[in-house]
Symmetry: D2
Subunit: 445 residues, 4 copies
């Protein structure tokens, strides 16, 4: 069965602020700064020092590096331009620069795991010193618009890194044959998800991109017109049970379902199932941040690469949505859904793990707060986009190549970091993020 | 100065057959088959057996492999389904299958250069046997629509491989420090190109993609609407002189011009100039199929990767066109231009080398027959695209990942292989094709 | 000037116990066990937890792994065969097995740095539990000869790993651009070394190898006859000043000094100086466990690969000694020298760093306790050697391939771990051990 | 059963010329030069141009490169020093230099397969021009002793390359799934080999190395004393049937038989049998220069790496001989055996393939002309060895690292290239030479 929602209602007031961007309304900047910074420490509190120095693969970074780099961001872009500011440690400029060529050279990314010093203790002190300086400065004067913008970017930047901290440490712990748990309590079984339905949308000229109300990254602008053809999109992401049918049908052994590069990845990496699945005593298990557990068929299928998402979609006779389709569909969702769906993972104390929300009765569910949804759109600039001047222009634009766009947000995203217009992106072979599939199809019904 | 052409005229008759597709009108199928097959032999006649077995890099194939594989294509898809047909050699099914999983396993691509047998002589015999069988069959009966389609694809497939034969052997010869020439006569100097002008186009909903008249690959369909914003495009491709200014301004040393992955390619490959350039005695030289020669500043800049094209565009303050923009702009060009611009490289006897056409007075020049022009569009399916059933469905669709679209055609393309809607594609690091830059910019003027 | 010592005196009492082997005489086994185990903890006490989990290269292991593996050795070979013994943790058998195929599968060596758990605290507990069990068992019963042998091997095994802990952590710290120091006080300058002299030895049939008195590894046996030609050997290892002359003479740029494989290593690794040297502000510096310091020309040249040692020797007009020559020469040294030369590095509290002993007046100096000396002998079995039965047979024999023998001992070796007959071995490209050069030459004078 | 031969008889006249070195006695130098040069052409005549340009792995070279390089050797070292000599082509100095740094830079070895030019025809002309110049020069004047020496080295050098041409082209053809044959007639089955016997030798001081009569490479000198312990050696090399027993006993699956590096090679290369074996329809086959054939259990086991030879020996309860043992044993063989055993492979017209000689009744058989026999000796300089001055000093000495010595000669060696003192050497993982196993054991009986 298929319900059609015209986007008329959804877009009737495109100039209204996107509620997903009303982040921190009513909360003072100092409070927000303090809270976001504290969230990184809360994640860290669940780990041992030993967990925080290892780099498990070139794409991942040690937790301690994330802690230092997010601090470096505030120090470099906010504090260093202030008259009289003394850097905490000259060496940090090089050690904790990620990829900002305009700031200077960078300690090579793939070698971040070779740094045992500064120790966690020193990094904590670095954070405290920078935090104190920022709070002090915020107390003493009005921010210019540019400073306010940098501070906002810095906070969202740190929230992005909080999600990476969780995905990177999950990857690290998964490499250990004793499968350590980050969280005390294991992931619980779910009730079966609601049956999947199709939601249809008419075609025509639509607008996507950020409207300028509230915070957004540069890559979400300018808001612009696109022509979309009629399409349908599924009410919820694909489940483990559904994905198992693909595996059982020889999905990982039949090249006809795969992109050529995807099939090469399957063979080189000997892929036979999603990243964190394994078979033990003839049963499927899954590694979670709560440890190894039996696979729950009723949970959403997660940690899929674009290649797997695309192959599953082709096998199922459908396809992935474009990012424009996803965004147009999300325009039909009530603002509350975004806030509802997105967990505050750090506060919750629960294992960070994607799940369906059985209480949600909306037509489109799990848009936010469950798992990132691959789109078929390769990551490209919007018409009229140009990267900002200066170092912050390196934030997004230079990665527009060989990446696919993901939309929504995941169980590891902060609630106030999610937006309808948010463009996340990863290479098609990346599997260690909380990523899954929501299917689409041609024609509104 | 900028001239604006509305696309009204260009698209006033979108249902008319694209003249670029009227390939072989009036020429019998047998004659065309014979001519295209002969073209491959004409290229080969300019080489020694030793040139035809080596694989200079995983992306390239030996000439002899191209000769056999294009023959395999006709044998596999046309002849083998015929009742009573006896394959020339059972082993060839495996040896000369490129990437058709539905046909069977393939001898690994990167090992094609390990095959010294079958010898050139045997491959020539293979060609003759298959040609005789096809001609015989064409003489005896009417083709079904499907057979006609396969034959067409086979001919275009062979023409694509003729271009690859030229680019692959150019790469091979370039690896040799004695720089052997394929052609007897060297590449001549050109007059300076006309000054570059901007041609503007208004925005709105337009149609792109193949209209179904004449031959096209599946990836050019369906013809569909797109929304484009006003844009300008340059009258001709960038010249060596213009590209040299980029180099002299430190283009290869300044990360701010490059995509992140492009900058990595620059550093890993120690790129300091286009692929076939080198400095000898303080002067720029260029390797051509006519041997090494002094670089001609007046010629078009060629053998650029997407990364270089993109970096040049950013440095120049402009950008690359999207593929939709390129196609819309090309709709304004007269059909004659396509035929005029596209060299029949094999007949001409001239070194295959891109050059400006000083006799062309059109607003947009060198759209065809000079060099492929990178677009900023990553290679993705058109809305409503689905790959055909069967093996030919593997021709295009499975490569839609991590590739960028090129438009136009080059000095190595057969005239009747060029089309306005043609979507060529290569990975962003590829440099060995005849590829260059035509700049675009936002706003119609 | 050259002094000749016939080996008659040196070998006049070959059946007397080698004083270098009288390890622990008068010391109870329990005390020795306790002391050796404690030494590993003393090294660790100088480090942070963050220093102890990282694997800086495939050849090195994390400190924590060394701590656990040496414990695993006692647990696996001593405790597990005892009736009723309950292993501390089943998973450790796999995690901390280095290369004993007869025990079972091993967690891959190059992935040791991916294990953040068990934490340091857990590893300390593992050590305590195993130590308590061993001590308890030693208190309760007499050891069989085989148990005594295993215990001895285990203690020497741990001492070997103590040296590796120091070299591995030195490598790790050297990868950090802030050059952290393990020891508080920096390495001090030395007085100039005594001028180098040649000590000659006559040729003939000699005996080398361990005589069976005291502990030795299997690879030092059987003691056997060799024919040696007359040779000379230098009184002390080559100094930094001497090695600098090689560099200044273009040593790293002239292939004629190098083995073919050595020259390949120079080019691939861009070697221009010993591993831990660097130039800062036009001066040579050296990374030490006491931090970065200006290079002391008066100190011994250290951290040389076999390739560098061999190239230096060829450049100097001499050669490296064979291991038989080295051992025969060492037979002339008084037993006291061994004990004198070998630092107890852990107790001393000084930076572990090679230095000349200005108080030593023997003909041959720094045989022990300074740096390992490369010999020209590839590591091969002695005539009549056969590896012991069982897992301990994997200790040495299976590495007799593509390794060169080093003799003596270093500043990182325990005094009671040094022996005249000790055969250390590393691949010719290895540079991170405390390794240097003592020159030899043909003819006794 | 074991027969003991004291080496007294064998070495009773150590000063007599080694008959294996009486190469070309009575044959004029010009005739010999012409004959050896012609042999290379005879090998080539069995191949197509396509077989002669491909490099199937970095260790192998294209046939055409061998043809040019051996010519380069004479031109560089003999002709270029002559007054007034004009090089055939300046570019060849760089292109065809193998590894002589003293001559100049070298086109990289692993890229030799990228050169399609100069063509075979040009290389043949190069050979003719150099041959004519050498013959002309030999006709006009007396050679100095040094020139005579260089000419000798050049002839032996070419004979070495003739063996490499055969092993390299065998490797190339083996990569082709259609398994082309170089020779018309297939390899025939053999009668079962004689049962294997042990031949014992007493210990003591012996002499090995070349005595200076006749030609030898520098690495065979100086003749010197060694101390050997009593040993036994087998009468013939191990057969396929014997080696199959090792495989059937799990030889390739049980790490306890292997050196550590050997076991790594087994796992990385997925070794399950000798290089050119394969299973077809449940039967063992072997690729030969006469094509693919069923494995002959009665033939010698060939194309074994050192790792396999060593593992087989350990599994069998024996060991490989040292090179001193092999040479001492060979001293007991009559000179005729050398000449008898060594095939002139090129003249014979038979497939180059190792076989037992059923007519040989000597105690030690197949020392020569069957397959090279791995020794347990790592390749090191003899006592007192020093490489010659100049470029020829690069011939041998710089490879004394990570290689094992092979003794005897193979079915691909020229008869007059075999010598008792000949030291062939390859890395322990090399499998593409004609290499096998002759077992040894401790104790004379």
């Amino acid at each position: 069965m298929s319900r059609t929602i015209t986007t008329e209602n959804a877009t009737q007031d495109p100039s209204a602020p996107d509620p997903s961007g009303v982040d921190g309304q009513g909360e003072g900047l100092k409070q927000r700064f303090h809270r976001v910074r504290q969230d990184s420490m809360s994640i860290t509190a669940l780990l041992h020092a030993e967990d925080c120095v290892i780099q498990s693969m070139p794409d991942a970074s040690p937790i301690r590096w994330h802690l230092a780099h997010t601090t470096w961001f505030f120090e470099t872009f906010l504090l260093k331009p202030l008259a009289g500011y003394q850097p905490v440690n000259e060496a940090f400029e090089y050690l904790f620069n990620s990829y900002y060529n305009s700031v200077g050279a960078q300690f090579p990314r793939h070698r971040r795991g070779l740094l045992s010093r500064p120790t966690m203790k020193s990094v904590f002190e670095y954070r405290q010193q920078v935090d104190a300086a920022v709070i002090d400065w915020l107390s003493r004067q009005e921010l210019t618009a540019e400073q306010r913008e940098i501070l906002e970017v810095g906070l969202h930047h740190e929230q992005q890194h909080q999600e990476l901290m969780l995905t990177d440490v999950k990857h690290l712990l998964s490499c250990n044959p004793i499968f350590p748990a980050m969280f005390d309590h294991p992931v619980a079984d779910q009730a079966s998800p609601a049956s999947v339905e199709w939601v249809g949308f008419e075609g025509g000229v639509r607008r996507i991109g950020h409207d300028g109300n509230g915070f957004a990254y540069d890559n979400e602008s300018p808001r612009h017109k696109v022509y979309v053809h009629p399409f349908r999109i599924q009410s919820r992401p694909v489940s483990n049970r559904e994905y198992l049918a693909f595996i059982q049908d020889g999905g990982y052994r039949r090249p006809e379902h795969w992109l050529s590069a995807g099939w090469a990845a399957v063979q080189e990496g000997d892929w036979q199932h999603p990243l964190y699945w394994c078979r033990r005593e003839a049963e499927w298990h899954e590694f979670t941040l709560g440890g190894l557990r039996r696979l729950d068929p009723a949970a959403p299928a997660c940690h899929l690469s674009y290649f797997e998402a695309d192959a599953y979609a082709r096998w199922s006779g459908h396809r992935l949505p474009t990012e424009a389709e996803w965004e147009i569909a999300s325009q039909a969702a009530a603002p509350e859904q975004i806030l509802k769906g997105a967990n505050r993972f750090v506060d919750s104390g629960r294992p960070v793990h994607p799940e369906y929300d059985p209480t949600d009765t909306a037509a489109l569910r799990e848009l936010f707060g469950c798992l990132w949804q691959w789109t078929s759109s390769q990551y490209s600039p919007y018409p009229g986009y140009s990267a900002p001047e200066g170092a912050l222009g390196e934030y997004n634009g230079k990665f527009m190549c060989n990446q696919f766009v993901l939309r929504g947000s995941s169980c590891a995203t902060s609630a106030n970091h999610a937006r309808r217009t948010y463009r996340n992106f990863f290479p098609p072979e990346a599997r260690w993020q909380f990523t899954g599939v929501r299917l689409a199809s041609d024609g509104a019904e």
